[in-house]
C-alpha cells in the first residue's frame, strides 16, 4: 500500500529508483506530515504575508494622499511656514463621541461636537493655507479628510496585523484577511476621491446638489444657515424653496437648519418636503437608477436627519425621498457620466411627485443633499 501511495506522490518523469526520485518522494512525505501538524501555522503565515502586502500598498496610498494634500496646500495656500507639522497633526485628529448611557439629548451634544470639529478643522486649514479663499479652504478640507480617512484605515489594519502577529491569533488574522478586499476597495476609492478634491471635480455624492442647482439656475438666491443657499422657484404652479449646500467648494452644509428656517418663516405651512440624495445601491443594481421613497434622505451621523424629522413631525409635513443609486466608491469619486445624465429624469420624477402629492399654490421644499464640490448654484 505504501508503495502505491509513494507512486501517487512520485513526480512524473523522475525515475523512482534514482536517488533524486527517493529525495522527491521523501520530500512529498515530509510536506504531507508538515501540513498535518503545522497546517494552521502555515496558513497563518500565508495570511500574514498577504496582509503584509496589503499593508504596504495602504502605506503607499496614504503617502500618495498625504503628498497630494501637501502639494495642493503649497500650490493654493502659498504658506510662508512649512505646513507639514500642522498637516501631520490634522491627519491624526480624532473626535470623542458623547457618552450614550443616557441617550436623551445626545443629538445636540453630537451636533455641537461636530460644529467644533468643523470649525477647528477649517481654522487649521486656513492656518496652513493663508492665501486660499473660502471655496479653496472647503476643497482643501475635503482633501485632507480623504487623507485622514486613508491614514486611519492604515493605522487600524496595522494595529490588527501586529496584534494578530504578536498573539498568533488565527481568528484575528482570519477576520482581517477576509475583510481585505472590501477595505482595499474603499481605500482605492479614497485615493481617487483625494484626486477629485484636489482638482475640485464634482463627485457622485453631489448628484443631489447638482439636481437642485439645475432647478435654481438663474433664480434669486439667498444664503441660509449653515453654508446653505436657497432659491424660490415656481414648479408646476407651486412655490418651491430649493435648497443646496453652498458651492462650488466641497461642502455638505446643514440642511436640517435650513429646512427648519424655511418652515418657521412660513409658519409651518409647507405641504411637502422632497429630499434628493445619492443612495447606496445593492450589488447587481444599475448605477444611476432613480428610486422614490418616504423619509429624510440624508446620510452622515444622523444629526441633520433628526432635525428634519423633528420639524416634519412638528408640523405634520410629509417627507419624500428621491434617490439616485450608486456604489460607495462612485459616491466619493468623480461623478460618472451615467449618474450625471439622470439629473433631468430625476427632475421629471420630482415634478410628477409634486403634481400627485400637492395642490397648486402650495409651498414646498426641495433639498438637494450631498457634497457640492465642483457644483455652483
Amino acid at each position: 500500500m505504501l508503495e502505491n501511495i509513494g507512486k501517487a506522490f512520485q513526480l512524473p518523469f523522475i525515475p523512482k529508483d534514482s536517488t533524486l526520485g527517493s529525495i522527491v518522494t521523501l520530500l512529498m512525505y515530509l510536506s504531507f506530515i508538515l501540513f498535518i501538524f503545522f497546517g494552521q501555522k502555515i496558513q497563518l503565515r500565508m495570511m500574514l504575508w498577504e496582509i503584509d502586502g496589503v499593508l504596504r500598498k495602504l502605506d503607499l496610498m496614504r503617502g500618495e494622499a498625504r503628498s497630494l494634500s501637501l502639494k495642493t496646500i503649497k500650490e493654493i495656500g502659498k504658506p510662508e511656514d512649512d505646513p507639514e507639522p500642522v498637516l501631520n497633526s490634522l491627519l491624526e485628529q480624532f473626535v470623542i463621541y458623547p457618552v450614550d448611557m443616557d441617550p436623551a439629548g445626545i443629538v445636540w451634544k453630537l451636533d455641537h461636537l461636530m460644529d467644533v470639529r468643523d470649525s477647528k478643522f477649517k481654522d487649521d486649514v486656513r492656518l496652513i493655507a493663508p492665501k486660499a479663499d473660502d471655496v479653496q479652504v472647503n476643497n482643501l478640507e475635503n482633501l485632507i479628510e480623504a487623507a485622514l480617512a486613508l491614514n486611519t484605515i492604515y493605522r487600524i489594519i496595522r494595529h490588527y496585523y501586529l496584534l494578530g502577529k504578536k498573539t498568533s491569533s488565527f481568528y484575528i488574522i482570519l477576520q482581517l484577511q477576509m475583510l481585505l478586499p472590501l477595505i482595499m476597495q474603499q481605500a482605492e476609492a479614497l485615493v481617487d476621491a483625494s484626486k477629485a478634491f484636489a482638482e475640485a471635480q464634482p463627485i457622485g455624492d453631489g448628484i443631489g446638489p447638482y439636481i437642485a442647482s439645475k432647478l435654481m439656475l438663474g433664480k434669486a438666491q439667498r444664503k441660509m444657515e449653515k453654508d446653505m443657499v436657497a432659491a424660490e422657484v415656481e414648479i408646476e404652479g407651486r412655490r418651491a424653496f430649493v435648497l443646496k449646500a453652498e458651492g462650488p467648494g466641497g461642502n455638505v452644509g446643514k440642511p436640517g437648519e435650513a429646512i427648519r428656517q424655511i418652515i418657521e418663516e412660513n409658519q409651518g405651512s409647507i405641504s411637502m418636503i422632497i429630499m434628493i440624495d445619492a443612495a447606496l445601491k445593492f450589488e447587481g443594481e444599475r448605477s444611476g437608477d432613480i428610486s422614490e421613497g418616504i423619509g429624510a434622505a440624508i446620510g452622515g451621523i444622523g444629526t441633520e436627519r433628526y432635525k428634519i424629522e423633528e420639524e416634519a413631525k412638528r408640523f405634520k409635513i410629509p417627507l419624500y425621498a428621491v434617490v439616485v443609486k450608486e456604489s460607495i466608491q462612485e459616491a466619493i469619486t468623480p461623478m460618472k457620466k451615467e449618474i450625471a445624465e439622470v439629473a433631468d429624469e430625476a427632475i421629471k420624477r420630482i415634478k410628477m411627485l409634486i403634481k400627485r402629492k400637492s395642490n397648486e399654490g402650495d409651498s414646498i421644499i426641495i433639498a438637494g443633499i450631498g457634497n457640492t464640490i465642483g457644483i455652483g448654484q
Binding site: P12, Q201, P202, Y210, S213, G218, T333, M335, K336, A340
Partner: protein, 119 residues
C-alpha cells in the same frame, strides 16, 4: 506581476513537456504513468492559462478604468453644447465667455467622468 508571468510560463512549458513525454513513452510501449502524466499536464496547462488570462483581464480593466473628466458647456438660449476636457477652476453653473450666436453667457452644465466603453 513579472514573477506571476514567469511562473505561469514555466508551469505551461513543464505541463506541455509532461504531456509530450507521456505520449512519446506510450508510443514506445511504456504505458506506465501515461494517464497520470496526461491529467497532470492538462491540469497544469489549465492553471497556467487561467492565471495568464486573469492577469491579462486585470491589466485591461486597470487600463480601461482610466477615464477622462469632461466639462459640458451650453448656451442657455441656443442650446448649443460643446464638450471639452476638464480644466482646474471649472464648476457646474460657472458662467463663461459669451456665445458667438446670441451673445448670452455660456454656462458649464455638467462635469463628469467618461470611461471608455467595455468591449
Amino acid at each position: 506581476m513579472y514573477i506571476v508571468i514567469l511562473f505561469s510560463i514555466l508551469v505551461l512549458v513543464y505541463s506541455i513537456w509532461i504531456i509530450a513525454s507521456s505520449v512519446q513513452e506510450r508510443m514506445q510501449g511504456k504505458s506506465d504513468g501515461f494517464y497520470f502524466g496526461l491529467i497532470a499536464g492538462i491540469i497544469g496547462i489549465g492553471l497556467a492559462l487561467s492565471s495568464l488570462v486573469r492577469l491579462r483581464n486585470r491589466l485591461i480593466s486597470i487600463s480601461k478604468e482610466e477615464g477622462r473628466i469632461s466639462t459640458v458647456i451650453e448656451c442657455p438660449t441656443c442650446k448649443i453644447k460643446t464638450i471639452r476636457n476638464f480644466q482646474r477652476g471649472d464648476y457646474v453653473n460657472k458662467r463663461l465667455e459669451k456665445c458667438p450666436n446670441c451673445g448670452e453667457d455660456k454656462i458649464i452644465t455638467a462635469i463628469y467622468l467618461e470611461k471608455p466603453a467595455r468591449r
